[in-house]
């Protein structure tokens, strides 16, 4: 079959809502786009553990500490689901991690912001995970089978992340003046970076069109961002806090909230490596990987040794039987 025919069969499957599976023929660009997006997503889950890890030993109670640990463990699990999905496209785990550590692969820019106070744990859960969920719910229906299955699993677990975050802020919002101020401050700092999580404006997004045609994505960056603003603008009323945007206003005509301009210069600066914590995050990742090398080697050595012992014992047992 000529390549055009393969492409037609492929596109027909997509149009007919038939998932693409690892061994199916797919255009090279589809493979590349998925690989880039899934590995980037995996890296985000893994790097996302770092700002939270900072607060494990400083959590205000044992309950909050246990919740935070469970959430961080979930992020590790989500990273693993996604790395496995990406591996089905033919790239090894080592290579992906190498790309993260070399800076070649990106991860969500949001994790390049520092988590300065305990309230940030709540704000991250509510805003950052809340933004991630909207994207992830859409991705449950993405056209690449292993990615969609990983997303379904992730979405089931993610809702706890957002709820615990909101609940944690709710407690602060009813606390002392100091706690209330801390809550508002965290919202102020995380609001705009959360909006940036959805990526560049549709008019400037380079990957969107083809991704929509291939049903890798099903909603545009701006659509998802609007959905997020509408959701949060309502929820913040329950907290009795304010979003740091004077332009935020319900638009009767559109049936949506209008919101202010996003600072895209800041977005691109952080993407390009000049955010407050880019260097620190990558260094922490590299250090963990390098200092864990001996564990990986020892585990392989142990596995080889036990396999050898087992084989020797089986041979001996065989020899005894013969005799």
């Amino acid at each position: 079959m000529p390549v055009q025919d393969f492409e037609q069969v492929f596109q027909d499957k997509i149009d007919g809502e038939i998932k693409i599976e690892p061994k199916d023929w797919m255009p090279d660009a589809y493979r590349k786009t998925n690989l880039r997006q899934i590995s980037q997503h995996a890296h985000s889950e893994v790097v996302g553990m770092l700002p939270e890890g900072n607060w494990v030993t400083r959590a205000p109670s044992l309950k909050r500490k246990a919740i935070l640990l469970a959430k961080i463990q979930d992020e590790a699990g989500h990273g693993l689901y996604l790395y496995s999905a990406a591996e089905t496209l033919g790239m090894s785990r080592d290579e992906m991690i190498g790309d993260l550590h070399s800076g070649k692969a990106k991860y969500s820019s949001i994790f390049n912001y520092p988590a300065l106070t305990w309230a940030d744990m709540g704000a991250i859960g509510w805003l950052v995970d809340g933004a991630a969920i909207l994207n992830q719910v859409m991705l449950c229906r993405t056209s690449y089978g292993p990615y969609a299955r990983a997303m379904v699993r992730i979405c089931k677990e993610e809702s706890f992340h957002q709820r615990q975050g909101f609940e944690s802020l709710l407690v602060l919002s009813k606390g002392t003046d100091e706690q209330k101020a801390m809550c508002q401050d965290a919202i102020n700092r995380w609001w705009w970076p959360s909006l940036m999580m959805f990526g560049p404006k549709d008019s400037e997004s380079t990957n969107s069109d083809q991704s929509m045609k291939w049903k890798i994505k099903r909603k545009s960056n701006d659509e998802l961002r609007q959905q997020f603003v509408d959701m949060i603008a309502q929820q913040i009323k329950v907290l009795g806090m304010k979003l740091p945007d004077e332009a935020l206003q319900w638009n009767e005509q559109r049936g949506h909230y209008d919101f202010g301009a996003i600072n895209w210069d800041e977005f691109w600066a952080v993407v390009k490596g000049n955010g407050p914590c880019n260097k620190q995050r990558l260094e922490a990742r590299r250090k963990a990987h390098e200092q864990g090398a001996w564990v990986r080697e020892a585990a392989m050595a142990y596995a080889a040794k036990t396999a050898q012992k087992k084989a020797a014992a089986a041979m001996q047992a065989g020899a005894l039987e013969m005799a």
Binding site: P22, W25, P27, M91, A299, M300, Y302
Partner: protein, 121 residues
């Protein structure tokens, strides 16, 4: 009919279909092998494939599978098998492979028209 069951690593792409990009992984002798994970969610149900993970050996694969796939009591039993031992049919040969079943509609109960008086058969 020529039934050629080719052996692939899970998710591997036949080289001739890999496109022009070079995705060959760099060999790392310490890289842990990949395992496919199957979970029985409760007694009485089949083990179902849930995903894959890396581990040095079977015991570690089971422990990792517990941590990765059963954090919320999703399972009561775990199977692990190293991915390289999975043999799979080739999607490109699906037409020929399943063709024998296509024209045998008499294998379905609905093929048989019975009088209304015969209930529940």
């Amino acid at each position: 009919m020529n039934i050629a069951i080719k052996k692939f690593y899970y998710g591997d792409i036949p080289e001739e279909k890999g496109g022009t990009g070079n995705y060959q992984s760099t060999a790392d002798s310490h890289a842990w092998p990949l395992w496919e994970i199957f979970i029985r969610s409760k007694q009485g149900l089949d083990h179902k494939h849930v995903g894959s993970l890396h581990a040095a050996d079977a015991a570690m694969a089971i422990e990792n599978a517990r941590d990765v796939y059963t954090r919320r009591m999703e399972g009561v039993s775990i199977w692990v098998v190293e991915s390289k031992y999975i043999s799979a049919s080739n999607p490109e040969e699906a037409g020929e492979l399943y063709e024998p079943a296509v024209d045998k509609i008499y294998r379905h109960p609905t093929f048989y028209q019975l009088p209304d008086e015969v209930n529940h058969m």
